[in-house]
């Protein structure tokens, strides 16, 4: 197996783990954590393709990951603030109980 394929497989596994968490866990925070894991798996792919791609000197994958990390920070901040707001409102952070848009 080539290093690229190894990276891709690790990333696929990480993605699936994150997805499994996001699908099964009831705590909204853990769902968010699962999504973060999926995002990280995607980042790993970018890094791997950049590293083993044809033109690493163009930095495209690397820069993409840097931006992606910045976006993830924003996403986590807003997501967690949302969870807090919902928790204050509904007194729970269990996603299977938060099913109403009205409140």
């Amino acid at each position: 197996m080539t290093p690229l394929a190894g990276c891709l497989l690790v990333s696929a596994l990480l993605f699936s783990v994150g997805l499994a968490g996001a699908l099964t866990r009831r705590s909204a925070i853990l769902v968010l954590a699962g999504i973060e894991l999926m995002l990280n798996a995607a980042n790993l792919n970018f890094i791997a393709f950049w590293r083993f791609g044809a033109h690493p000197e163009f930095l495209t994958g690397l820069i993409f990951v840097i931006f992606s990390i910045a976006v993830a920070a924003a996403e986590a901040a807003v997501g967690l603030a949302l969870i807090l707001a919902i928790y204050r409102h509904a007194r729970t952070s269990d996603v299977s109980e938060i099913t109403e848009m009205k409140g």
Partner: protein, 704 residues
């Protein structure tokens, strides 16, 4: 393009003119509400400097009327640089001076007018932003930059119309203005994109490579598109859409009268003098794009707007609304002038109109202020006695607007009518314009009689004795009378003249309303030749041009006829009570009501455009709920249980019958809607399964 170093200081630093008011707006946006003096000082100071700079630019253009442009790289998209820039030519110079001068006067006027408003700081912030954006529109040498400033102008217009947003009418008017102008701007945007697609640049002038220069325009004229139209014509018409929206041309005029919900200085600045003129200016700016058939459209739209709005103005009772319709009508004249006579004709009317309409609006503001915020002309009357300065200034503005001989409006309107008369395509616009002039004189006379002349009709505002005792109201403004209704003695407050800070701008503007026309008379067409980059000499012989003097005589006659008609209806017998029906209403109640209801355009839009939008929204909602939502449900169903489908099919087969089947399907749908249960993870699961299915299909397909 000249090298920047070789240009004079003012050309290189032309950007300062819009930048200063914008900077003032930015600073006063950060100020606290209590910093009233500072924010007003910033706004007026920056506007004053802008005026000085504008005058310098004007002098520069006078000295050398050649067009000078400065471009700079703005932003890189991939390999291409988007360029922006500014330009100085006589057209821009004239507009600069007009906008900054009128703006400055209105700022000073607002000091008095808004003095008691809580949000004084915010007001000046918005006004400065508006002025900056408007000046940006004027100097832009790139359709993109113009469009950006244009949208800022639209935004501030929205903010200012809705300045008193706690009044539902103001909020609704702001929304209406914003949405209506957006309709036009959509056309402008499409035109802009198309223009970029055709020429690859949005710079107007760029030493031969700009989109308004010969090579680009010739290329676009040679290229035909739908219905045999040249591309340049199509683009010109699209850009005209934007101009029509902003300048309130039929059929997008509906927002302008409603916009009078804003504070009066706003009405004056935005909706009379500058912003609405932006549309006219835009058409003048992209004039090279406007080939014959596009100009025909412009002329016809202008003529129809002129007469249409003038008709409606006849039957309005709100002092500002009359002026608003008058503005729409005059904007129609400007468009007509652009369409039939060229840039100079339209722009001349734009400039003169800016001054006398600002004057009229500010006068109306003064009247409203004096009458304790009442805007209904039926409740006024006889104000000449109480507000002499306002009356005199207002009369000047009114005569200028009517086109009374030798006043500013006379020369500019006459130039338009003359051009329309000589138009080769059709005589229709000329007659429409002439009738419009008659109506203009008529409704303005009506307004004068209602507001200033005759006798006082207001159920006068009573004031409490305590306020009198506390000397809150000057003694000369109050008068004890016996109330006709109750028989008691009460103290009434007279309308009062506004403070000097309000009347001084009026006087200045009045001087301009009288005299400004003389820069563009046929004998000395200085303005027209300045725009064309030539010099003009005084030559009374030009009056001898064929048909000119007779036409002037005819138009004067029309004005006198309008004034006479007005006197006949409203001046002969004084109007005694506020509740009396209008003189016109007595003769033709049906027509009057139709006009008073603005010819039902809003209602027409209500049952057509808005209803259509509602219907579309409803349809989309239906589509979303039933078609797309149904699709989602079906997918969910496929995933989670084929069993239900089986059961449904079973029952369908066993029970037979089409009706039964239908009922089952309905029941199945209801059942499926349980899967639309708001649980995020269900949705996520469906997405994941869809991903698996899609990827599997792709991979399977590629396998061979």
């Amino acid at each position: 393009m000249m090298r920047p170093e070789s240009m004079s200081w003012i050309v290189r630093n032309l950007w300062l003119i819009p930048a200063l008011p914008m900077a003032a707006a930015a600073v006063s946006a950060l100020l606290k509400r209590s910093e009233r003096r500072l924010s007003a000082g910033l706004a007026i100071g920056s506007m004053g400097i802008s005026l000085v700079l504008s005058l310098m630019a004007f002098a520069e253009a006078l000295a050398d009327p050649a067009r000078r442009v400065v471009t700079f790289n703005w932003m890189q998209f991939g390999d291409q640089w988007v360029q922006l820039g500014w330009l100085l030519d006589p057209l821009a110079a004239v507009m600069l001076v007009m906008v900054s001068f009128v703006g400055l006067l209105i700022f000073i006027y607002s000091l008095g007018y808004m003095a008691h408003d809580d949000n004084f700081t915010r007001f000046f912030c918005f006004m400065s932003l508006f002025a900056g954006a408007m000046l940006g529109v004027v100097i832009a040498n790139s359709l993109l930059l113009l469009f950006m400033c244009w949208e800022v102008v639209g935004l501030t217009s929205y903010l200012l119309i809705g300045f008193w947003f706690h009044r539902p009418a103001a909020a609704a008017a702001a929304k209406k203005a914003f949405i209506t102008t957006r309709v036009g701007d959509l056309g402008l945007l499409i035109g802009m994109v198309w223009l970029y697609g055709q020429t690859g640049t949005l710079l107007f002038y760029n030493s031969g490579a700009g989109c308004l220069e010969r090579t680009a325009v010739a290329g676009m004229e040679a290229h035909l598109t739908v219905a045999g139209m040249a591309v340049s014509t199509a683009i010109g018409l699209l850009i005209f859409c934007g101009a029509a929206g902003k300048s309130g041309q039929v059929p997008l005029h509906v927002w302008l009268p409603d916009a009078m919900e804003g504070p009066t200085p706003v009405s004056a600045l935005i909706h009379a003098a500058t912003m609405v003129a932006a549309g006219v200016y835009l058409v003048a700016r992209v004039y090279p794009l406007m080939s014959g058939s596009a100009l025909e459209v412009v002329a016809w739209v202008g003529a129809i707007t002129a007469i249409f709005a003038a008709c409606i103005a006849v039957a309005q009772n709100d002092i500002k609304r009359i002026l608003a319709y008058s503005t729409v009508s005059q904007l129609g004249y400007m468009m007509l002038g652009l369409g039939v006579g060229g840039v100079a004709v339209g722009m001349f009317h734009l400039i003169t109109h800016a001054f006398f309409k600002a004057l009229l609006f500010l006068g109306a503001g003064s009247v409203i202020h004096g009458c304790t915020e009442d805007q209904d002309i039926r409740n006024m009357g006889g104000l000449r006695r109480f507000m002499p300065v306002t009356f005199a200034a207002y009369a000047c503005g009114m005569l200028a607007l009517c086109g009374f001989p030798l006043f500013a409006g006379f020369w500019s309107k006459d130039a338009i009518l003359h051009a329309a008369h000589g138009w080769g395509v059709s005589q229709g616009p000329f007659y429409l314009g002439a009738v419009g002039a008659l109506l203009t004189a008529f409704y303005m006379t009506r307004q004068m009689y209602y507001v200033f002349l005759g006798q006082r009709r207001l159920a006068e505002a009573t004031v409490s004795p305590a306020a009198v005792a506390a000397h809150e109201i000057p003694a000369e403004q109050i008068e004890p009378v016996v109330s006709a209704r109750t028989g008691e003695v009460c103290i009434i407050e007279h309308p009062h003249e506004s403070p000097a800070v309000t009347t001084q701008p009026l006087v200045v503007l009045a001087v301009f309303a009288v005299l400004l026309g003389f820069v563009g008379t046929p004998a000395w067409p200085w303005f027209q030749s300045f725009l064309a980059g030539e010099s003009a000499g005084l030559d009374f012989g030009r009056f001898g041009e064929a048909g000119l003097l007779p036409l002037m005589a005819v138009s004067s006659l029309i004005v006198f006829a309008g004034l006479g008609l007005g006197w006949w209806f409203y001046g002969r017998k004084p109007i005694l009570h506020a509740t009396d029906p209008d003189a016109l209403e007595k003769i033709q109640p049906g027509v009057f009501h139709a006009l008073a209801n603005r010819l039902y355009v809003d209602e027409l839009y209500g049952v057509t455009v808005i209803a259509l939008t509602r219907f579309c929204a409803g349809f989309a909602a239906w589509l979303d709920r039933w078609i797309f939502g149904g699709a989602v449900r079906i997918v969910a169903w496929m995933v989670t249980g084929v069993g239900w489908l089986d059961a449904g099919v079973d029952r369908f087969v066993v029970n037979g019958g089409f009706d039964e089947g239908c009922r089952d399907v309905a029941r199945g749908g209801r059942l499926l809607s349980h899967f639309q249960n708001g649980r995020v993870q269900n949705y996520l699961r469906v997405i994941a399964v869809a991903l698996v299915v899609l990827a599997a299909i792709l991979l399977w397909g590629r396998r061979g």
